[in-house]
Subunit: 374 residues, 2 copies
Amino acid sequence: MLDAVKIALSYALSAAAIKRKNASMSQRSSSGSSGGSSRGSRASGRPTLAELARIAGVSPITASRALRGIASVDPDLAKRVREAAAALNYVANPAARTLASAHSDAVAVLIPSLSNLLFIDTLEAIHDVLMPRGLEVLIGNFHYSPEEEEKLVRNYLAYQPRGILLTGLEQTPATRSLLKASGIPVVYMMELSRETGLHSVGFSQEESGAAVARHLLARGRRHLAYVAAQLDPRALERGLGFQRVLAGQREVRPPVWLSVPEPSSVALGGELFVRLLDAYPDIDGIFFCNDDLAQGAIFEATRRQIPIPGRVAVVGFNDLPLSAHMAPRLTSIRTPRARVGEAAAHRLVDLMDGDCRAEPAIDLGFELIERESS
Amino acid sequence: MLDAVKIALSYALSAAAIKRKNASMSQRSSSGSSGGSSRGSRASGRPTLAELARIAGVSPITASRALRGIASVDPDLAKRVREAAAALNYVANPAARTLASAHSDAVAVLIPSLSNLLFIDTLEAIHDVLMPRGLEVLIGNFHYSPEEEEKLVRNYLAYQPRGILLTGLEQTPATRSLLKASGIPVVYMMELSRETGLHSVGFSQEESGAAVARHLLARGRRHLAYVAAQLDPRALERGLGFQRVLAGQREVRPPVWLSVPEPSSVALGGELFVRLLDAYPDIDGIFFCNDDLAQGAIFEATRRQIPIPGRVAVVGFNDLPLSAHMAPRLTSIRTPRARVGEAAAHRLVDLMDGDCRAEPAIDLGFELIERESS
DNA sequence: GCTTCGTAAGATAGCGCTGTCTTTGATGGC
DNA sequence: GCCATCAAAGACAGCGCTATCTTACGAAGC
């Protein structure tokens, strides 16, 4: 008897396999696809975990654990499962997985605009961090509307994501409470929050506007203007920083403030530039809240032979790829947009892993790139 | 007895509601969250269809049908369900829905690059068509690699999407057979396929290259070059069209062909421009496969005081927003990239609805925008 | 009045996984 | 050699929906 037990053990794996094969076969004949059931098949036509397990000669739950890399599975069994999965081209059904575990492998990312290159860089960096970790990225565009953002959050929460990345801090109260109630980790991008418990990655928008003001003052400019498009709360912050520095100066009047709701574009920049100089001919320095506006201004100035920076200095924001190549080359604030995405994604991964120790606000700073236009 | 039945019927709705309430309560006490079950609760904490149904006083299946807008539900009941859903902030669990119905409400969109503005316009148009129809958009970036595309397709098929949008026609055979086996509708974007059964929306890349060649010839240019970056199959097609037209001309030699694998960028355009003119000083016309390259060339030419189009004519591709504003303004091919996304999404929706009648290839054409640079 | 039929509502049974508890067998201490 | 302890594998049940079959009812026909 004892000998028999030992022998059985030494062949445990194959014995178990046979036993299971029989079990699953008898099961099949009673309700499987081969036809016992009176109800029609709703199967999706893809291999299931049960089939994979049968082929690998293990139980479904062991196959599940093996594929998820759970340590308690015997390495040999795990290898058999992986091989069988490769042979079958098995890919787990994410819907079943989400339903059973009450959470998906998705991360929702909400950005205010797809057409702004700025966020594309951020998105790509996020992708590069999350995809290798097997996380799906759900992208939502809320068009700078907190209400739309709320709708998206409500919708994406139904997907039971592992984490959420938000842009800015302008959420509606309902959005905030939805997020809090869900218990899902959230990281805010682009701005810095002092609120405890909020994790944010970005830089000081206000301070970047202040830096531009100081730069223009240092260049001897005294009649300044701030030009913004698209009702972007971060652009507003920058304008306020710009204003704050100027307010502290003698012999410098408050900046002309030109803000329009249309989306930012090169064409609009040219238009606003002309409108501004017509109305305030003595302006000698302009801070555009985005590079495309500043680029449009420079093109228009070239066309009208308005010397830049001779008559008016121009400073942009974001340091888009073209700005370094213009004639004159555009002075701009280089924003760490790709690094924001990267750091935010990393922070989110840490939070998902239950690691909350790091300081909640990560300031990645910004850099004023002084070029010919100022 | 009969009277009793009639009375019961006239109060059918509320009676049913009470009955169900009792049923679900007794059920709860045996296995629900209130604690009878010995196993812990795995509930997601969100309202479920069963709760919604209880509140609306209907059965879960009726609530399900009402929310999905299935016609056979009594309008009054449907209204009650919708009201209850609004009161509860009920959002159906997409995982459960997908698992039960064997298909999700997602559409997978695969594009070769996120950082190319071109595809962003297409993506945004796709979003605008699909989101209002309640379809989720899954975005995959395959980095111009058919192998990566194959991996993404395999992965996204596990999500059981309702449809798939692909960019280009360069799929691996495995990708094609995966798609065919899945039976899921697919629409190909950007290029036109003559293959029967393939639905495509785009324009003739080859013909657009030919149009540029004809344009430069008409401008009297005889020593031409084609410059491409990023191993983009569509750029190659354009080059071939360019070449084809030139090959048919007397006294015009075949174009210089400069193609590098790096991603397209303004800086690279400047570099390639200089390299090209150094090696072939008599070149008098260049077709750049993307506007950013052409823009870089123009910036570099301005810097080196090489007259454009005086010494060399420059033509770009895609008509990016800046091209109309350069000095000199850039001649380019305006591509219908947003309309491609829109039309492809519409075609996909039609296919999902089982409407396959329309002609499979939709040619949206292109437009040569003649400006100062040529 | 009785049967036949069509329609709206409900009962039932999963979809394919994973959390949890249970079982099994190996290990170590006495 | 026997029992407590531990780890690995499996059994079980259920996540929240929807497809399908069934039932119940009213209308229509004889």
